[in-house]
C-alpha cells in the first residue's frame, strides 16, 4: 500500500507542474490581450490629440442612432422565432414539478411535457424527483392545447387563491395555471424563476401569444447584440449616414453591359 501511494504521489507531482504551467499560460494570455489593448491606447495618445465631436462619432458606436435602431428592429422577428423554438424544445423535454401543500408532510412530484406536434400536454404523478425525461407513455393525463383558454400567473392562480393555500412571495412568483375547457385548471409551481419563464413563454407561444418574460427580454438582447455585431463587421471604421443619402433620378437607360439572362444559377 505504501509503495502504491508513493507512486500516486509521484504521479500527482508530475501532473501539477504542467497544470500550473497551463494555468500560468492562460493567465499570461489574458494579460497579453489586456496589455495589447493598453498599448493601443498608449500608441493613440502618442499621436496628436484629436477631439472627437459628436459629429465624428461613428453611428455604429451609438446604439440609439436611427440606422442602429432600424437594424435591431429588423433582426427581432428572426430572434423571436429562435426563442420560441427553444421554449418549445424545453417544454418537449418536460419538467418535474412539485405539488406543494401545507397539509402533506412530503412534497409530491409530477411531470409535464409537450407532445412533439405541440398539440397535447402530457402529465402525471411520478414516484420521485426525476432529472431526466419521462416518456409520455408513463404519463397518464393530458390536456389538449386547443382546449386551453388562458394562462394565469401569481395571485390570479386558483391554487394561490384557495383558503389555507401556502402563500409567500416566492411561491407567488413561481405559480402559474392553465385554464382549460370551461372550468378546469392545471396548477403549476415552477422549480425556479428560469423554469417559470420557460413555461409561461412556451405556453404563450403555443397559444399564439407574445412571450413576455424577463428571460425572453434577456435572451433577445444576447442574440440580437451578437447578430448586430456580425452584421456590422465589414463596416468597421466606416461612417454610416444618420439619414438615408439622396436617391438619384432613375437612370435614362437600362441597356446594361452584361447580359446574365442565359444563366441557370
Amino acid at each position: 500500500y505504501l509503495a502504491f501511494s508513493g507512486q500516486k504521489l509521484i504521479l500527482q507531482l508530475n501532473k501539477n507542474p504542467s497544470r500550473l504551467k497551463k494555468q500560468a499560460e492562460k493567465k499570461q494570455k489574458r494579460y497579453t490581450t489586456q496589455s495589447v489593448t493598453l498599448q493601443c491606447n498608449t500608441v493613440d495618445s502618442a499621436r496628436p490629440h484629436r477631439p472627437s465631436p459628436k459629429s465624428e462619432m461613428l453611428s455604429q458606436d451609438d446604439p440609439k442612432s436611427r440606422p442602429m435602431l432600424e437594424l435591431r428592429e429588423k433582426l427581432q422577428p428572426e430572434v423571436i422565432e429562435l426563442i420560441k423554438q427553444q421554449r418549445l424544445n424545453r417544454m418537449y423535454e418536460g419538467t418535474c414539478f412539485r405539488k406543494i401543500s401545507a397539509r402533506r408532510r412530503q412534497d409530491k412530484f409530477w411531470y409535464c411535457r409537450l407532445s412533439p406536434n405541440h398539440k397535447v400536454l402530457h402529465y402525471g404523478d411520478i414516484e420521485e424527483f426525476s432529472q431526466g425525461q419521462i416518456s409520455p407513455e408513463s404519463l397518464q393525463e393530458k390536456v389538449t392545447v386547443a382546449d386551453i383558454k388562458a394562462v394565469v400567473t401569481g395571485k390570479d392562480c386558483p391554487h394561490m387563491k384557495e383558503k389555507g393555500a401556502l402563500k409567500n412571495k416566492e411561491l407567488l412568483e413561481l405559480a402559474f395555471s392553465i385554464h382549460h375547457n370551461s372550468d378546469e385548471y392545471l396548477n403549476f409551481i415552477a422549480p425556479d424563476k428560469h423554469e417559470f419563464c420557460i413555461w409561461t413563454d412556451g405556453l404563450n407561444a403555443v397559444l399564439g401569444k407574445e412571450m413576455t418574460s424577463e428571460l425572453t427580454k434577456s435572451d433577445m438582447d444576447t442574440l440580437v447584440n451578437m447578430e448586430l455585431k456580425l452584421r456590422l463587421l465589414d463596416l468597421e471604421n466606416i461612417q454610416i449616414p444618420d439619414v438615408p443619402p439622396p436617391v438619384p433620378k432613375e437612370p435614362s437607360t437600362y441597356d446594361f453591359v452584361y447580359d446574365f439572362s442565359q444563366q441557370h444559377i
Binding site: 427553444q86 466606416i238 437612370p251 437600362y254
Partner: protein, 155 residues
C-alpha cells in the same frame, strides 16, 4: 450609358436600400456587394449573399473597398484587398454564428456561453487589427491570439 467599373468593384452597404426602382436591388446595412457597371450615379451588381440576383442601387449607398480583380469582364472574380486573417476571422464568425444559434435552441448552455465569449474576443481582436494603430509586434501578438481562438472553435 452603362460602363463596366474599373476600380469600383467591392462595396459595403452603408444604408439599407429598399430597391424601389425598376430592377432595383434590395440591400441591407452591412451587406457586401460586387459592382459590375455604373451609370448616372447608379451601380449595377449583386450581393455576395445572393449572387444570382443582379440589380441596380445608388452609388451613395455603398462604401467602396479596395479589391483585386481577376478575369475582368462578365465572369470576373473579385476579392477584397485585406489581410487574409481578417477574411478568415470574418467568415469563421459567420459560420460559428449558425452553430451558436443552434446551441441556443438546443439549450446547450455551457457551450453557448463559451462560444459567445470566444466570438466576442475574436470580434475585438479583429477590430484591433483593423484599427491600424498597432505596431508590428502588437500585430503579431494579436494574430497569435486570433489563431488560438480559431483553433479552439474548430475543435
Amino acid at each position: 450609358m452603362w460602363t463596366p467599373t474599373e476600380d469600383e468593384k467591392i462595396g459595403v452597404v452603408v444604408c439599407s436600400f429598399r430597391g424601389s426602382v425598376s430592377l432595383g436591388l434590395t440591400l441591407e446595412l452591412g451587406e457586401t456587394v460586387h459592382i459590375l457597371e455604373k451609370c448616372e450615379g447608379w451601380y449595377r451588381g449583386f450581393s455576395t449573399k445572393k449572387p444570382s440576383i443582379k440589380g441596380i442601387f445608388p452609388a451613395g449607398y455603398v462604401h467602396l473597398k479596395k479589391a483585386v480583380v481577376t478575369n475582368r469582364g462578365q465572369y470576373e472574380t473579385v476579392v477584397p484587398l485585406e489581410d487574409p486573417i481578417i477574411t478568415e476571422v470574418t467568415s469563421t464568425l459567420q459560420e460559428w454564428s449558425v452553430l451558436w444559434k443552434q446551441l441556443y435552441v438546443k439549450h446547450k448552455v455551457d457551450l453557448f456561453y463559451k462560444l459567445r465569449h470566444v466570438m466576442n474576443e475574436l470580434i475585438d481582436l479583429r477590430r484591433q487589427l483593423l484599427s491600424g494603430h498597432l505596431t508590428q509586434d502588437q500585430v503579431r501578438e494579436v494574430k497569435r491570439h486570433i489563431t488560438v481562438r480559431l483553433d479552439w472553435g474548430n475543435e
